[in-house]
Symmetry: C2
Subunit: 394 residues, 2 copies
């Protein structure tokens, strides 16, 4: 186990009707709020009206930035920053899923910076200050509601880049599982894979001696596997939605990565896909993950992948390589059972752009720590995932 | 799953040499510290000298309260409160295990209260303010380093009472597993059981639908079972000490109890034993736990106890009652394998005082939620644990 610092500062308000805590939380930062949200879903669900009631009941002034898209754009961030500066906002309130929250985080940082917010992603500027961010979550997936990270797309440069800073960690998050009842099955599946992928990125590590972290990771994987399919067929099952929502937050709040090197290669590759194609992040991860696992499997990584197969999929096989392959196959089958696409070509990715993605993904150096991936490795993974048939299904 | 609020505000500095972060942490609260510790062990280990260096190197003034005992006394608290008031201390720094930290917490609360600190325990006064508390942990056991709780003994009234307040949660904790290398085997075993008991108290619950919490609890139990015995025979094995230390903190920081009713009956009973006999808390818990499990096992609780047996001990038995009994037996055997006593009479408890303990334990009402325990139930458990032979070992 490596040395680490850990801090989980977000105040969590979890459960039915927890919107009742929102007014008091906001007022501890001020009474002028930038409300950030996506499309009309929060209006259809009635959540928007609840928010207005909270604002009115607590004398909170609000300005709105709506229309934040999945794979949120730097253009939305710039609009939000402008509004914050113009209206001297005290808090940025994100209502939605990870895209909305990520957008809100960078708005909050940009509001306290004189230049353009894209500078944070090009490393031209470092985030020094940010307005406080609060969230009302409507989708179990990205974990952004407790995390220091944000990922933003730049349509001009065709880049999708991420940054992290403890300054960006939301001060509070309202997690009411009922808000996720309206998430359609395909989004529920993609969200479940997103959570699992966050776990994988931290579970598969070259650092030895992290027993507790690995067991905690397995707890979260088991929860996703148990409830993801259930939430797809019973969208208003509170137990499923609650377990997925709390797991999604815990999977990326820093707990699983304590004391170990983490990987994040699969995310690095996927970002290049969704930078070009506006693919749902979790869907891209579902396609890539089994191919990543298969590619990194070797004598050195086999014990860990075999441990995964045994502890998660109950694989009863003493040979590590065979156990690992079985676990990979079961992973792929599980994603398929949730009706997720199994190849990049199915989702419209073009074969002639794979090299470009591999190049961009490794432009800042090799990816991953569990096994280091250079340009050619990434290209090999993308090619295998493109075709979708090269995974040995035993 | 029930509604909940959660907040984990303690800043964790984990690993070898992390004492280097202490000066900066202290200075963010002020430069006058009350150093609270137990006996001479921190002097023998060299930790005391390290602390003096940190104080000197950062121009931090310190006053000392030493001699805090296991099962810490309200008399020590009163001394510490006096020192804080006299010297206008900015932060209370506990260096040691749970007893020292608990003592420091109530000192911190008492320093901001005009009456006697025991008033908090008799519910005569509520904790409204407290000085900030920081900790340097030397023993993996109580989880006090991230928790809102404190338990204090009153020799005059022969009471051992606990309280909890978010105001008491340590602001920072330095967790260097090397400081626990000198913990002797019997204390290591007792600490391991203490951690496991904290998990049990939250794992065994009447609340349905808490899948993620239950799997996280199992992750922690597996870690204790894996590393407790290893740390006893290899006291300077960093991996074992590190896994136990981080697990001990996570087991009582509020995470496992999110969204569910928790039990705490076993702790309630044990407190009456260690109020009268100054028994090591973890040892008392090791004796009581299997008898508590055995006593609460019925048709209603069997599925959960059977789940424990299957997931933790690999019991392969479809009948819940039989599976549960097997799991209970394996629990008792595990504690015995760590050379812990198996009966109350072995540790000097007198049979004629069991009724008194049962009465005190239930004086504020029945104990527990997994199964509610009245006076007679508690007495039955104490009598069975006294004898130590009535547990069916199949």
């Amino acid at each position: 186990m490596l040395n680490f610092n850990a801090h989980f500062p977000t105040r969590i308000h979890f459960g039915r009707g927890k919107i009742e805590d929102l007014g008091e939380e906001i007022l501890s930062y001020g009474n002028k709020v930038l409300l950030v949200y996506g499309g009309g879903s929060i209006k259809r669900s009635g959540l928007y009206d609840q928010l207005l009631q909270v604002f009115q009941g607590n004398d909170i002034n609000h300005i709105e930035l709506s229309g934040v898209q999945p794979n949120p754009r730097i253009s939305s961030v710039r609009q939000g920053v402008e509004l914050c500066k113009q209206h001297q906002v005290h808090l940025v309130l994100a209502v939605g899923g990870g895209s909305t929250i990520d957008c809100a985080k960078i708005i909050a940082a940009g509001a306290n910076y004189d230049g353009d917010a894209w500078d944070f992603f090009t490393r031209k500027a470092k985030i020094q200050h940010a307005l406080p961010v609060g969230t009302v979550l409507t989708l179990a997936a990205t974990g952004s509601e407790m995390s220091p990270n944000a990922v933003i797309n730049n349509d001009d440069t065709k880049q999708k880049l991420g940054i992290g800073s403890s300054i960006l960690i939301p001060r509070f998050s309202i997690l009411d599982p009922e808000y996720s009842f309206t998430v359609p099955p395909e989004q529920t599946a993609a969200g479940t894979v997103d959570i699992m992928s966050h776990v994988f990125e931290q579970y598969f590590s070259p650092t030895p001696g992290t027993f507790i972290q690995n067991r905690l990771a397995e707890a979260m994987l088991k929860t996703c596997i148990h409830y993801g399919p259930l939430a797809m067929v019973q969208p208003d099952n509170y137990e499923s939605r609650a377990n997925l929502m709390w797991t999604g937050s815990l999977a990326l709040n820093g707990l699983l990565g304590t004391g170990k090197r983490t990987d994040w290669a699969t995310h690095g590759i996927e970002h290049e896909i969704s930078a070009l194609y506006d693919v749902t992040h979790g869907l891209g991860l579902a396609i890539l993950t089994p191919y990543w696992m298969h590619y990194v499997l070797d004598e050195q990584t086999a014990p860990r992948l075999a441990e995964y197969a045994r502890n998660i999929w109950g694989v009863d096989e003493s040979d590590d390589i065979i156990a690992a392959r079985t676990g990979i196959m079961k992973t792929a089958r599980f994603f398929k059972s949730m009706n997720l696409a199994g190849s990049l070509k199915e989702i419209g990715v073009e074969t002639e752009r794979l090299a470009e993605m591999a190049e961009k993904a490794t432009s800042r150096g090799p990816l991953g720590t569990f096994r280091k991936l250079e340009y050619q490795d990434v290209l090999n993974i993308l090619q295998a995932a493109y075709d979708g048939t090269s995974l040995p299904l035993l």
